[in-house]
Subunit: 254 residues, 2 copies
């Protein structure tokens, strides 16, 4: 009988063309499929919770797959980490209900966008943070961030390349945390549009630099026009930290 | 007239065979010499304060060189960062007294050794921290660390490959700091022997794992035998954080 297995996956996105399989490109999903197929001698294609972009990192993305194998759920992490490249790590594995689907369950997603705000870049964090030379005013950024919380139409904060019709999303919180020269934007929500966190980051950076007033955010939201928001901040600063499912029926895990 | 310029240099050591120039190898010193020689059209060989090992990182190493150029001291950092690879950054540059020598001045060197202590490695810090699976007891590690502070003959904590005769060094402090799953060993001293911080780290890890009692440290020091201490911990966990000169005559900077 086929069983469904859930993996919690961490990865350094620097060397990958994002999560989703693309012909001829190195992707996180592709590496997982390869490792699983070689381990199980089955043709495995995982379903991911979040298709992170090229260069974006993950600490808690989710992948599920079905298998005929009798390997205990919690053993997959160890077996897979032997076969995966060192920039992808399965942090946890477990057997779940057969109808569990990581994109169809209500969940809280947490992203962090890290900004190294100093005169010079720091070579020890250049792969995991975006370097911004101009001094950033975190009080202004926090004031702007507040306007983004709640349910809004985020058309202005979404790549025009998207095909999604409904652009209303709920952002639970946008925190702006300074620790020395590192500024972390921690964004929690039920779901995000294409490039949404990076456009939020790019806009808050402009506010922090003094190039935009915090009070402009409500106007930008109301305009429903991508041109009104700030630029899409670079991918290296972004990490998908965690995906926590609510306790809804479909997500009951064995 | 020739002028002496001091550089504060940060680097990700992952891709380098250490600081010191070696024929046919990629080194931090080699990249600095190349960038300076191309900028100044002179044949420049820098003098470094600390010859860090292959794979070891730097945030505050020092390099000095003499030049006929009239470029203001503080401008070198900007000009060099244009020519250096992105994993080496000159954080500061300034003109110093002609007899300033970074290895002949009394100074306090601070190293940090970072240990990621979790069930699984974290792909986002694997280049800058050493992964240790066994749970580490930081109280035990701190108790052992205390015995290392002060003036001692550190023969037991020195690679046998060294050519230095006098192995007496003064360690000002060894702090053991836990922040979640990251343990940082912060070691300050006036000078260190070859591999000394990595052998201290390897020994404290053994103590933290319960494989060695903290009270063994005085015996290990007294034995003056490299075999008695723990293994040399891997290079990726080690960063030379800073070198602060004392205010002695020779180190007076213009």
């Amino acid at each position: 009988m086929s069983r469904r297995i859930k993996l919690i996956v961490a990865y350094d996105g620097t060397g990958y063309c994002g999560w989703q399989v693309q012909p001829g490109k190195k992707t996180v999903e592709g590496e997982l499929n390869k490792a699983l197929s070689s381990l199980l001698h089955e043709d495995i294609s995982v379903i991911g919770a979040s298709r992170t972009d090229s260069g974006v990192h993950g600490l808690g993305n989710i992948a599920v797959f079905d298998t005929e194998s009798r390997i205990p759920g919690e053993k997959f992490s160890y077996a897979l980490n032997q076969r995966l490249p060192e920039d992808i790590v399965v942090r946890e594995s477990l057997e779940v209900a057969a109808d569990y689907h990581p994109r169809k369950c209500s969940s809280t997603k947490t992203y962090e966008y890290r900004i190294w705000n100093d005169t010079f870049p720091n070579p020890l964090n250049r792969r995991y943070a975006t370097f911004v030379y101009t001094p950033l005013d975190v009080e202004r950024m926090a004031a702007a961030a507040e306007y983004l919380e709640g349910e809004h139409d985020f058309t202005s904060f979404c790549s025009v390349a998207t095909q999604v019709e409904n652009k209303v999303r709920t952002v639970y919180s946008v925190e702006v945390i300074r620790d020395g020269k590192m500024i972390t934007l921690r964004v929690k929500g039920s779901g995000f549009l294409y490039n949404m966190v990076r456009i939020i980051a790019g806009t808050l950076i402009k506010v922090g630099q003094g190039a935009m007033e915090p009070e402009r955010i409500p106007e930008i939201l109301a305009a429903m026009d991508r041109q009104k928001a700030g630029p899409t901040a670079p991918p290296e600063g972004l990490t998908l930290v965690s995906i926590v499912h609510e306790n809804n029926e479909q997500c009951i895990v064995r």
